[in-house]
């Protein structure tokens, strides 16, 4: 374990904003604007943030569902960001993705069996019989009955569909899985089943996860390290427990205090942020959080704070992008 499996360096994914008669580019939507992070073998890195913070775009940029504008996505040392599409195929085996809504990400016209056999077919692995054997094995691993193999996605509940999505993602023994809101569409009692399954699979298959979600409690639960995103930037990162116990960024603090806890009448300080997330098309000058920050100072409106180390060391280094020590 001497090198990271995935290393994202100063990644930017900008989308042109078009308008007018000739649909000329009128500006840039800076969905991801200079993000660096790493995922080491066997660990889970959680990425938390609210809608529009760029967390999903970051995930898609890593697997090249979206082409990054600048920066590097080093997977075992190879830069996926600059690789031509046709040379990506071998890496598609190594890096897989699980999506939020399995109803949308599964082909409704394919049986579960043909869906699970497809990855092997695409990569020319095995014959018909061995592929079916593999599909049955995958179903067993994710806790679905063998009879599921000849059924269609609509015949399953949300939780079962997510199991199918997971089976498909682990089919080719990937090293890294990008989980994009894998449990947010599920009911509470099913959510815990899927989280346990992901944890079990990680242990058994030695998987690494980049776990993207808006729910801080879920992300903290499954992650070793977490990064908080706001408006295209990582504003704080570090060991999950440490960031939760000693948050340094005012946004992280607000996020933690906004999570409703299932404890009635608990007297606690809640910091309710005023205002809303600004548009990434027209981000505020200086710190991206300054328009909503309760501690804002003049310097915040002029200079964007860079991530700096505030504690921990090595992998567990705690970094925060704020001008001040709160």
């Amino acid at each position: 374990m001497s090198a990271p499996l995935l290393e994202v360096r100063d990644l930017r994914t900008w989308f042109p904003v078009r308008g007018g008669v000739l649909l000329a580019a009128r500006g840039q939507c800076k969905a991801v604007d200079g993000v660096s992070l790493s995922v080491w073998p066997g660990e889970t890195v959680g990425l938390v943030g609210e809608s529009g913070c760029g967390k999903s775009t970051l995930g898609k940029s890593i697997v090249r569902l979206v082409k990054p504008t600048a920066g590097q996505v080093l997977f075992n040392g190879t830069d996926l960001a600059s690789l031509p599409r046709r040379r990506l195929k071998p890496f598609r085996r190594e890096v897989q993705m699980i999506f939020q809504d399995p109803a949308d990400s599964l082909n409704s016209r394919l049986t579960v069996g043909s869906m699970l056999e497809e990855p092997f077919l695409i990569h020319g692995i095995g014959d018909d019989a061995s592929r079916r054997e593999k599909a049955l094995e995958l179903l067993r691993v994710v806790g679905l009955p063998p009879a599921a193999i000849d059924r269609f996605p609509f015949e399953f509940s949300g939780g079962q569909r997510q199991r199918i999505g997971i089976a498909r993602a682990i089919a080719l023994n990937p090293k890294l899985i990008i989980c994009d809101e894998p449990v947010s569409a599920l009911d509470a009692s099913i959510q815990s089943q899927i989280l346990n399954l992901l944890l079990d699979l990680q242990e058994r298959l030695r998987l690494s996860y980049l776990f993207i979600a808006h729910d801080l409690a879920v992300v903290k639960h499954v992650s070793d390290r977490i990064a908080i995103m706001y408006l295209g930037h990582v504003v704080e990162s570090g060991d999950g427990e440490e960031v939760y116990r000693h948050p340094r960024h005012p946004y992280t603090r607000a996020l933690i205090s906004a999570v409703p806890q299932p404890v009635p009448r608990r007297q606690r300080y809640r910091q309710v942020l005023s205002g809303e997330v600004p548009s990434p098309i027209d981000p505020p000058p200086g710190c991206p959080f300054q328009p909503r920050c309760p501690h804002v100072q003049p310097v915040c409106r002029e200079q964007r704070p860079l991530l700096r180390e505030v504690g921990g060391s090595g992998l567990a280094v705690h970094t925060v992008a704020c001008h001040f020590d709160l």
């Binding site: 809608s51 509470a188 009692s189 959510q191 409703p260 806890q261 299932p262 009448r265 809303e276």
Partner: protein, 344 residues
């Protein structure tokens, strides 16, 4: 204003809405499904009742039934009474119902974009709600709209009345929907997953706003949600529903500190909490919610329940009093192990 006799505000804590033995059926392709079966609860003046449960438990159907907003012609109330200030809304005339809908009970839906008319300016939509039940001029209605928008925390409301819903963010749209629900100064607001589509920091804003408005206007609220955290932090009473029936009902402290139904316990144990050690395995409820057409006999939770006995499959439990207003629908609640606050 609507009929004067019924509009005098009841004292705080008095029963405002009394739902008794409500039953709702839907015609589906597969046959007739009973989505709500024998649900009873009360809402007290000035207080918040939370209804919690997973998809398909009947919480939204219960809410829609109160205002008789069930999808037609598939859905219908087939039993029970919905007593609001003494009149039974389940059997009330359309005229009475119209008065209640426009003047006494407001409704907030989950997705503000679908609750608002996309091609009408905000001001027009709000004015319409005001004009419906107050004899004021269009101009006065618009002024009141501006005042209401200010009240729900929308910056520069005099500009916003001229805008269309798509020009607002999700949080702002939900504020507009709240303003519409409040336009008639209702005694009761039914909010169906009002913050589910919103980010947590915006959710915190909206919940705080609703609480402040509730105190100021002395309203009662029925808050429907799947989020036990939201229930714990905003409600006085809770109704836990499972597969169309009441699993457990009572004051919020009782339900969270002494949950007496295996389903309530399972829910409380399965949600990840910030203080749990990382990667610990969560408790789960085995299996999944049964389909309405394929419900188990007896207790509807029996096929997922770790405490199931023969009696559970033979006989549906009735609601047993635990203590005070806390009641539970389980044959074996007395024999359950003592509840310990979950720690994974």
């Amino acid at each position: 204003m609507t009929s004067t006799a019924t509009n005098s505000a009841p004292a705080r804590g008095e029963v405002l809405l009394d739902v008794q033995d409500l039953a709702v059926e839907f015609d589906t392709e597969a046959g007739r499904a009973r989505a709500v079966d024998g649900v009873s609860f009360t809402v007290r003046a000035g207080q918040t009742l939370g209804i919690v449960g997973e998809s398909g438990c009947g919480k939204s159907v219960t809410a829609l039934s109160i205002l008789r907003l069930l999808p037609q012609p598939m859905g219908r109330i087939v039993g029970g009474r919905i007593l609001f200030r003494g009149q039974d809304l389940a059997t009330a005339s359309m005229e009475t119902l119209h008065k209640v809908r426009t003047g006494q009970i407001g409704m907030i839906f989950q997705e503000p974009m679908t609750a608002l008319n996309p091609v009408q300016r905000i001001g027009k939509q709000l004015s319409e709600a005001i004009l419906l039940h107050r004899g004021v001029s269009a101009r006065a209605a618009l002024e009141q709209s501006i005042e209401l928008l200010g009240k729900v925390g929308i910056p520069s409301p005099e500009m916003r009345v001229g805008e269309f819903p798509h020009q607002l963010s999700g949080g702002m749209r939900q504020r507009v929907v709240i303003a519409m629900a409040l336009a008639c100064r209702p005694a009761l607001v039914i909010a169906d997953e009002p913050t589910t589509a919103l980010d947590v920091t915006i959710q915190a804003q909206i919940l705080e706003l609703m609480k402040a408005l509730q105190d100021e206007m002395e309203m009662s609220v029925i808050l429907i949600t799947h989020d036990l955290g939201v229930i714990a932090e905003t409600c006085e009473d809770v109704l836990v529903m499972y597969a169309g029936r009441v699993a457990e009902v009572g004051p919020v402290e009782d339900i969270f500190e002494r949950p007496s139904h295996p389903y309530t316990r399972g829910l409380l144990e399965s949600i990840p909490r910030l203080e749990y050690p990382r990667k610990s395995r969560l408790r789960t409820i085995e299996g999944m919610v049964p389909a309405l057409m394929d419900l188990p006999t007896g207790c509807r939770f029996n096929n997922r329940c770790p405490h199931r006995t023969g009696r559970c499959t033979a006989e549906a439990p009735t609601l047993d009093p635990v203590a005070g207003a806390h009641r539970v629908g389980c044959h074996h609640w007395r024999g359950l192990p003592a509840w310990a606050e979950p720690a994974a």
